[in-house]
C-alpha cells in the first residue's frame, strides 16, 4: 500500500474519532461522575493553539473541587502527555461555589463542568500528521463521602492547513473559557486585624452587589472558608471581613482573590490581587452593612429595611411623584421663614405618607392572612384602581395647567390639589404621594417588599413604614432645615411656568396607566374610561369658572360621569383584553405544566414573570430580552422562553413567585439543560448577563 491512502485513512479515522468524541456516549463512567476529554477543533494547525476541556458530569449532589478546595477535599489535577514541542497551559477554573458539609465548607462544582486548558502546538507539525494528546486526570468526588478517581483520556486530531471548529464543542468550550474570572487591576489591600482577615477593594468602574458578594481566596492558610461580612467602606469601596484561617501562619505579600457576585446562574466573577496593607484599612461605613455573614440566600431584615428606605428616597424622582413633591418643596421654600409651621407641615406630611403605607400594607397583610394570593402591586391588578389613578393624574395635571385651582391664589395653588396651605393639605400631600408612587416600583423595592410580605405582620409593616420614611425623607428634611430650603430657588413668577410644565409628566403617567388599563380590560373598557376622563375634565373646567348659572350642576354631572365610567369598567380579562406582547421574540405563555414538560425534554427554560404595570419588567424586556442577539442565543442554546403575565391577579403565578421567595415581579428563572437546580437572575438585567446565563444554562 502506498503511504497516501494510509494517511487519508488515518485522517478519516481520526476525524471520525473526534466526531464520535463529541457525543455523550464517549463519556467514561467512574464512581459518581462521568468524564470526557473534548476539543474545540476537529483539525489543528501547526504552531497554533488548541482549546480542550476536561468534562466532568457529576451525579446529582456530588462535587469535585476548585484549586483551593476549602476545608477538605482536593483540587482536580491534570497530567499531560504531549508530543515533543507541545505544551499545556493551566486549568482555567470557573468561579466555584460554597458547598456546605455540616459545619464545614468546600469550594467546588456540581453538575456538568468543563475545565478548559489551552495547548500550544509545535510548528513542526505538518498537514496530514495526527496530533495526539493524553491526559491523566485525577480528582476527588464527594457528596459526604469522598472517592478519589482518575482516568486516562486521549484525543487524536488531524493536522490541517486551517483549523476546523467542532460545532459540538467550540461554543461550549469558548463559553467555559469566557467564564474564567478575568484578572482586573482594582486597587485591593489585605490585612490581619486580630482574628479577622480584612480585604479592602475599590471596584473601578464596576458595581458590586454587596448583598451577594462572595470572596474566594486562591491560597489556603489565609482566611477561613466562611462567607465574609461585606460592608461599604469609609471613603468608598468595600470592606470584607472574614475569620482568619485556623492554619494561618503569616500573610503573604500578595493574595489573589476571586470576587463573585450576582445570583446563582448570573454570577459575575473577577480575580484581584490584594497587596498586604502597609497602612490601616478603612473601617466599615456607618450603617453600610450590606452583606450577611454565613448562609441564607434571602434578604436579612436590616438589609430589607435599608433597601426599603433607599427605595423610598428614589421614589421621589419618579415621574409620577416628582411633580407633586417638587411643588411641595417649593411651597416649603416659600414658607421657610415660618419655621414652626414648616415643621408642623413636614411632620403632617410624614404622618400622611406613613398612614397611607400602613393602610396599604395592612390591607395586603390582612388579605394574605385571609388566604388571598396577592403580592406587591396587587392594587394595580384591579382595573378600577388603575382607572382611578389615571383620572387622578389627569385631575392633578389639569390643576397644574391652570384649568382649575383649589384654595385660590397662586401661593396656595402653587401646590394645587395637594398644596392646600393648611395642615390637612400637608397630610393629604403625603397620602397622595403614596398613591401616585405605587405604580413606580423602584428596583430596590422588589426584594425588600418580597421579603416583607412573607414575614410576620410586624416585620412586614416595619419594612413598608421604612419605605414610607424614605419617601417622606426629602420633604421632612427640607421642613426641618430652613437653611436647606433657602437654597432652593426663590419663589417668583417663574414658578407659574414651572408648575404648568410639571403638568406634562402627569399627563404622561396618565397615558401609561391608560395603556395598562387597556391591557386589562380591552379597547372598549379603555374607551369607557376615556369618556369618563372627558366628563371629569368638563367637571373641573366648570369648577375653575368663576360664575355661571349651571356651574354647580355641571360640576356634579361631570363627576358623576367619571364615577360611572369607573364603576362600569368591565372585569379584568374581559372581551378584547390583549395578552401582554411587547416584542417579537418568540415566547410561550407560562404554565407549570409547560415548564415541567420542557424540562422533561431536557431543554433549558427561561421563565419571565412580568406585568404591564411593572416598569422594571418593561425596562428589562427592552434592554435585555428583545434584541436580535437575545433571540439568536435562545435559538442557539435551544432555550424555551416562557412568559407569565401578572398584570392581572393569578394565584398560580403568585404561588410560583413565593417558591423563589418573591412577592412581586419581575422574576427571571433559568432552568439549566438536562435538569438541575434553577437559577434566579437579578431583577435588573443587562444583555451580557442574560447572554452569559443562557450560555451557561445550556452547558449543564
Amino acid at each position: 500500500m502506498r503511504p497516501l491512502p494510509i494517511l487519508l485513512c488515518a485522517a478519516w479515522l481520526a476525524a471520525f474519532a473526534s466526531v464520535a468524541s463529541a457525543q455523550d456516549e464517549d463519556l467514561v463512567r467512574r464512581d459518581h461522575l462521568s468524564v470526557q476529554l473534548v476539543a474545540a477543533d476537529r483539525a489543528v494547525v501547526p504552531g497554533g493553539t488548541l482549546d480542550v476541556a476536561l468534562r466532568l458530569v457529576h451525579d446529582a449532589h456530588w462535587h469535585t473541587y476548585w484549586l483551593n478546595p476549602g476545608d477538605s477535599g482536593l483540587a482536580t489535577k491534570l497530567a499531560w502527555t504531549l508530543p515533543e514541542g507541545a505544551s499545556a497551559g493551566p486549568i482555567r477554573w470557573p468561579a466555584p461555589s460554597r458547598l456546605p458539609l455540616g459545619p464545614l465548607i468546600n469550594f467546588g462544582y456540581e453538575g456538568d463542568l468543563l475545565l478548559p486548558v489551552r495547548i500550544a502546538l509545535p510548528a513542526t507539525l505538518a498537514p496530514g500528521d495526527t496530533f495526539s494528546a493524553t491526559v491523566k486526570a485525577s480528582w476527588l468526588v464527594c457528596k459526604e463521602e469522598c472517592i478519589p478517581g482518575d482516568a486516562s483520556l486521549s484525543l487524536a486530531l488531524p493536522v490541517a492547513e486551517r483549523a476546523q471548529p467542532d460545532p459540538d464543542w467550540s461554543a461550549r468550550i469558548g463559553a467555559a473559557i469566557a467564564a474564567e474570572p478575568p484578572r482586573v487591576d482594582w486597587p485591593a489591600r489585605i490585612a490581619r486585624e486580630g482574628e479577622t482577615i480584612v480585604v479592602a477593594v475599590e471596584p473601578a468602574g464596576a458595581e458590586l452587589d454587596a448583598a451577594t458578594l462572595e470572596v474566594f481566596p486562591l491560597p489556603t492558610q489565609v482566611m477561613a472558608t466562611a462567607r465574609g461580612r461585606v460592608a461599604a467602606a469609609d471613603g468608598g469601596g468595600l470592606r470584607i471581613d472574614t475569620p482568619i484561617s485556623d492554619a494561618f501562619v503569616e500573610l503573604p505579600a500578595q493574595v489573589d482573590l476571586l470576587l463573585v457576585d450576582g445570583a446563582a446562574g448570573a454570577r459575575r466573577a473577577v480575580q484581584v490581587s490584594a497587596a498586604a496593607a502597609t497602612a490601616p484599612l478603612p473601617s466599615a461605613a456607618q450603617g453600610g452593612d450590606a452583606g450577611a455573614a454565613g448562609g441564607g440566600d434571602g434578604v436579612g431584615l436590616l438589609a430589607a429595611l435599608l433597601f426599603a428606605l433607599a427605595g423610598g428616597v428614589l421614589l421621589n424622582l419618579m415621574p409620577c411623584v416628582f411633580p407633586v413633591l417638587s411643588l411641595k418643596a417649593m411651597g416649603l421654600a416659600a414658607h421657610a421663614h415660618e419655621r414652626p409651621r414648616a415643621r408642623r407641615h413636614g411632620l403632617l406630611y410624614l404622618a400622611g405618607v406613613l398612614a397611607a403605607f400602613a393602610a396599604l400594607a395592612g390591607t395586603l397583610i390582612a388579605l394574605r392572612a385571609a388566604g388571598e394570593q396577592l403580592g406587591w402591586g396587587f392594587q394595580l391588578q384591579l382595573p378600577w384602581v388603575v382607572g382611578a389613578l389615571a383620572l387622578l393624574m389627569l385631575a392633578m395635571g389639569l390643576s397644574l395647567s391652570g384649568v382649575f385651582e383649589i384654595g385660590g391664589g397662586w401661593m396656595g395653588a402653587g401646590q394645587s390639589l395637594a398644596g392646600r396651605d393648611d395642615g390637612r393639605g400637608a397630610f393629604f400631600t403625603g397620602v397622595l404621594a403614596v398613591l401616585v408612587a405605587s405604580p413606580c416600583t423602584a428596583p430596590f423595592m422588589g426584594p425588600a417588599l418580597g421579603f416583607a410580605v412573607t414575614q410576620a405582620p410586624g416585620v412586614a409593616l416595619a419594612v413598608f413604614l421604612a419605605l414610607g420614611l424614605g419617601l417622606a425623607l426629602p420633604i421632612v428634611l427640607l421642613s426641618f432645615a430652613p437653611a436647606l430650603a433657602q437654597r432652593l430657588p426663590r419663589p417668583g413668577a417663574w414658578m407659574q411656568t414651572f408648575k404648568q410644565a410639571m403638568a406634562f409628566p402627569l399627563y404622561l403617567t396618565a397615558v401609561w396607566l391608560l395603556w395598562v388599563l387597556g391591557r386589562q380590560v380591552g379597547v372598549d373598557g379603555l374607551a369607557l374610561l376615556l369618556a369618563g376622563a372627558v366628563a371629569l375634565a368638563f367637571s373641573l373646567w366648570q369648577l375653575g369658572r368663576t360664575g355661571g348659572a349651571w356651574r354647580g350642576v355641571g360640576i356634579a354631572a361631570g363627576f358623576a360621569g367619571a364615577l360611572a365610567a369607573l364603576v362600569a369598567l368591565p372585569a379584568p380579562g374581559g372581551a378584547g383584553a390583549a395578552p401582554a406582547r411587547a416584542d417579537e421574540v418568540a415566547w410561550e405563555p407560562w404554565s407549570p405544566e409547560r415548564v415541567a414538560s420542557l424540562r422533561a425534554e431536557g431543554r433549558p427554560v427561561l421563565v419571565n414573570m412580568t406585568a404591564a404595570w411593572c416598569i422594571t419588567c418593561l425596562a428589562n424586556e427592552r434592554v435585555a430580552l428583545s434584541s436580535d442577539a437575545f433571540q439568536q442565543r435562545l435559538a442557539q442554546t435551544g432555550t424555551a422562553y416562557l412568559k407569565g403575565d401578572w398584570t392581572q391577579r393569578d394565584a398560580r403565578i403568585t404561588e410560583y413567585l413565593a417558591r423563589f421567595g418573591r412577592n412581586g415581579v419581575p422574576l427571571y428563572v433559568l432552568y439549566p439543560a438536562g435538569g438541575g437546580e434553577p437559577d434566579v437572575l437579578p431583577q435588573l438585567l443587562t444583555p451580557d448577563l442574560v447572554d452569559a446565563a443562557l450560555t451557561r444554562a445550556a452547558q449543564r
Binding site: 478519589p148 492558610q221 492554619a247 454565613g294
Partner: protein, 203 residues
C-alpha cells in the same frame, strides 16, 4: 416561615463555622477534653501532663486515611511514638449514621485489622472535641507538649493527595514536629493546611 427558617439555618451555619473555627491555636493551651476509648476507659488531656500527646482524627473508610494506613505510614509513626513515650490518641468524631462512625467494638476491629499502635482510640460521636480543636479533615493531626500547649496543627505530611505512592517524597510534618520537641527545639513547621475527607459531624 421558609425565609425565617433559611435565615435561621444560615445563622446556625455561621455559628457552626465559628465553632469549627478552632479554639485550638498553636502556641496556646490545647482545649481540654474527656473522652471514652474503644474499651470503655475514660481519658482526659490532663491525665497526660508531662507527656507529649498526638491527636489523629480518623475515619477508616476515608481514602486519605487509607492512603496512610494501607502502606502502614500511620502505624509506623504510631509505633515510633510509643517507643518515644509519646501518647498517640486516635479520635473519631464521625456522627452516628455517618460514614466511618464506629462504636468501641468497631474501633477495636479496625485497630486489629490495621495493626494500629496508638495508645487509645477515642470516641467523639458528639463531635464536641473535634469542633473544639477545629478538626476539619481525616486525617487532621495535632501535637501537644507536656505542658498542655498545642505545638503543631495540620496535615500529616506535605503532599495533599490520596495516592500512597506520594508518601515517600512527602515531608512528614508530625514526625518532624515530634523530633523538634524531643530535641527541645521550636517546631519548625507548626501550622499547615490539613487535607483529606471532611470530618463527618452531625448536620
Amino acid at each position: 416561615m421558609m425565609r425565617i427558617a433559611s435565615l435561621a439555618a444560615g445563622l446556625v451555619l455561621a455559628l457552626g463555622s465559628v465553632t469549627v473555627h478552632a479554639k485550638a491555636q498553636v502556641g496556646q493551651p490545647a482545649p481540654a477534653f474527656t473522652l471514652t476509648d474503644s474499651n470503655g476507659k475514660t481519658h482526659s488531656l490532663a491525665d497526660f501532663k508531662g507527656k507529649t500527646v498526638v491527636l489523629e482524627w480518623t475515619n477508616a473508610e476515608c481514602p486519605f486515611v487509607k492512603k496512610h494506613y494501607e502502606p502502614k505510614n500511620m502505624q509506623t509513626q504510631q509505633g515510633e511514638a510509643k517507643t518515644a513515650e509519646v501518647v498517640w490518641l486516635t479520635v473519631n468524631s464521625g456522627a452516628p449514621g455517618k460514614q466511618g462512625h464506629v462504636d468501641g467494638a468497631g474501633a477495636n476491629a479496625i485497630i486489629a485489622s490495621t495493626g494500629g499502635q496508638q495508645a487509645a482510640y477515642l470516641l467523639d460521636a458528639s463531635g464536641e472535641t473535634g469542633k473544639a480543636y477545629g478538626a476539619k479533615t481525616t486525617p487532621h493531626m495535632y501535637v501537644i507538649d507536656g505542658e498542655g500547649t498545642l505545638r503543631y496543627a495540620g496535615a500529616i505530611d506535605s503532599n495533599p493527595s490520596a495516592d500512597p505512592a506520594d508518601i515517600p517524597a512527602a515531608t512528614q510534618y508530625v514526625r518532624n514536629a515530634l523530633a523538634d520537641l524531643a530535641a527541645g527545639r521550636p517546631v519548625a513547621v507548626a501550622n499547615t493546611q490539613p487535607y483529606g475527607c471532611s470530618v463527618k459531624y452531625a448536620n
